[in-house]
């Protein structure tokens, strides 16, 4: 299954890309995905330790870290917004 990661603001700048498509062999939780990403790139440690960053799965904020991810899901990384 594949999941799209979308990066915004300083996360996009730091990762030097706006999105990633990741392929997985089995269903995982958001919590497990976080560990996987940190192993791949230590920048994700900084992102996940920043309490101001919000995570939206298919346009809804994640409120349970154990939520499992499905094929085609879009997970967005959102620093504090500054529009208007």
């Amino acid at each position: 299954m594949s999941i799209t990661l979308k990066y915004f603001s300083w996360i996009r700048v730091k990762l030097k890309k706006s999105h990633d498509l990741i392929e997985l062999n089995q269903t995982i939780s958001f919590k497990e995905l976080k560990s996987n990403l940190i192993l791949k790139d230590p920048i994700f440690k900084e992102i996940f330790e920043d309490n101001s960053v919000k995570f939206f799965l298919n346009l809804r904020e994640i409120d349970d870290e154990n939520q499992t991810l499905s094929n085609g899901d879009i997970l967005a990384f959102l620093p504090p917004v500054t529009g208007g």
């Binding site: 300083w10 917004v81 500054t82 529009g83």
Partner: protein, 153 residues
């Protein structure tokens, strides 16, 4: 109506979209690019607005519905620019229409306050040498939003 666009807009034209003989009172909030110093004390040449469009539209729809219900608005529109903007350019326009002015004014303030801290837009200051500097969220905006929680819930 909710619109996220990379084009500028005309206030009279936007008013016509929400205008009706039954309204009576309209409140508008317009935000523009202000010539200012960045946090690193450099002169701002313009701004760049990033957006997670699908999410921002969903969030703006929710805020608009809340305002329509809570203040019994007869109409409401929100327009927000994205992309590169020069000094003085229009960034955001919130328009509320009601038969009574206090409702229109309060709802308009609620919408812009909500947008500032809840909707997926990110602002960068454009400086000399193509340098971009991220704008930080203001703690004052967060505090201002807290007062609405009592009113809206």
């Amino acid at each position: 109506m909710i619109k996220i666009t990379n084009k500028t807009f005309d206030l009279e034209a936007e008013f016509k979209f929400v205008s009706s003989d039954t309204n009576g009172a309209y409140s508008f909030f317009l935000g523009t690019v202000r010539s200012d110093l960045s946090s690193s004390k450099k002169k701002i040449k313009g701004i760049y607005l990033e957006c997670y469009e699908e999410l921002a539209l969903t969030q703006l729809k929710k805020i608009r519905s809340k305002a329509l219900n809570r203040w019994k608005l007869t109409n409401c529109s929100i327009i927000h620019r994205i992309g590169k903007l020069n000094l003085g350019e229009k960034i955001v326009l919130v328009t509320t229409a009601s038969s009574h002015r206090a409702n229109a004014i309060e709802a308009c303030e609620f919408i812009i306050d909500s947008l500032k801290i809840e909707v997926a837009f990110w602002k960068f200051h454009l400086l000399d040498n193509n340098e971009k500097e991220m704008v930080l969220q203001k703690s004052l905006d967060n505090e201002k939003m807290l007062k609405w929680d009592e009113i809206i819930n």
